[in-house]
């Protein structure tokens, strides 16, 4: 069988990008069963690589845009303590404006680096009860990461 390699850092995001002949679940199954992972590189059947190449642009664009916006937001708000000032930053607002497409990337950030994504997650999902009123920031972050895990984003 013809195999190739593809750099995948986020299975959900990669699978989300693939369309055409394969469903998202088919692609996730393929990625999970196709071989060993070497530092984020998976072995995939060539046809799946072709499938991804067929329509990866949207996801890659989304990820690139997210990274660029998130980096700008972090750099320009790092000395702030007021959450509403952080959340009203134009880059953060644009991330919220990306809607559910941003969720895989937000959850990746949240799970690996933490950070002030609670406002964006609440805005995008419309859920205000994932974290509890009595939760401190760390527990609230953990609650959201768990929610993201349950819903396939982490």
């Amino acid at each position: 069988m013809n195999y190739g390699t593809m750099l995948i850092k986020d299975i959900g995001a990669a699978a989300h990008a693939v369309s055409g002949n394969y469903s998202k679940n088919q692609v996730i199954d393929e990625i999970k069963t196709s071989g060993s992972r070497y530092g984020g590189t998976y072995m995939l059947r060539a046809e799946f690589i072709s499938a991804r190449l067929f329509l990866p642009a949207d996801s890659i664009r989304t990820e690139t845009e997210f990274k660029s916006l998130a980096e700008r937001w972090k750099q320009e708000t790092s000395k702030l303590s007021m959450v509403h000032k952080m959340a009203m930053h134009p880059a953060y607002q644009r991330i919220i404006g990306m809607g559910p497409k941003a969720l895989p990337f937000i959850f990746r950030e949240l799970a690996t680096k933490g950070g002030h994504w609670l406002w964006a997650l609440t805005a995008i999902t419309g859920l205000d009860n994932v974290a509890k009123p009595e939760d401190n920031f760390k527990r609230a972050t953990e609650a959201w990461v768990q929610w993201g895990r349950t819903h396939g984003y982490v």
Binding site: L80, M82, H84, K85, G115, H116, L118, D135, N136, F137
Partner: protein, 160 residues
């Protein structure tokens, strides 16, 4: 210290230099690593609370006392520190034996931007956003970056 830690410390110092271009290195000393889980408003309390991010934002995960009106103005923060810690407004940030003081800064929109705490006769302490804690020689060295100090508060030192 491993090379990774050294790199992290250098980068962190660079972050402060970049974000606070008006803050002379001789005017402060970095006292912690970066931490995005607590802020200056929590750090101002007692010997420095690090268990939460204090904010009037109504998002679960941020702390604001239930009996304090939510808001971003000086009056809201005077209420906050009076209610939570027994601070009262005072005229200046001069050291007074038997008292500890806070300085409340405001930005160009007259919204609270920062709070610093007096540690002793020679030092104030601040948590810089999501960055580090620093000791600084007086509260005014942060005014170019956070705006003017609008209000000082004081309370008796515990066990004084």
């Amino acid at each position: 210290m491993g090379s990774d830690a050294r790199i992290r410390l250098r980068m962190s110092q660079a972050d402060i230099d970049r974000e606070f271009p008006n803050l002379s290195r001789s005017a402060y000393e970095k006292k912690s690593d970066e931490d995005n889980t607590y802020n200056c408003f929590a750090w101002a309390v007692d010997d420095g609370r690090t268990d939460n991010w204090w904010s009037p934002a109504q998002i679960n995960g941020y702390y604001w006392p239930q009996n304090v009106p939510r808001g971003v103005l000086v009056e809201h923060f005077v209420h906050l520190y009076r209610s939570e810690c027994g601070y009262e407004p005072c005229d200046n940030g001069e050291f007074e034996e038997g008292f500890e003081k806070l300085a409340i800064y405001v930005d160009s929109q007259n919204e609270v931007s920062h709070v610093a705490r007096q540690k002793d006769r020679h030092n104030w302490t601040s948590k810089l956003g999501v960055l580090e804690d620093i000791d600084h020689i007086n509260p005014f060295v942060l005014e170019p970056d956070y705006g003017p100090i609008r209000q000082f508060l004081k309370r008796p030192v515990k066990n004084a």
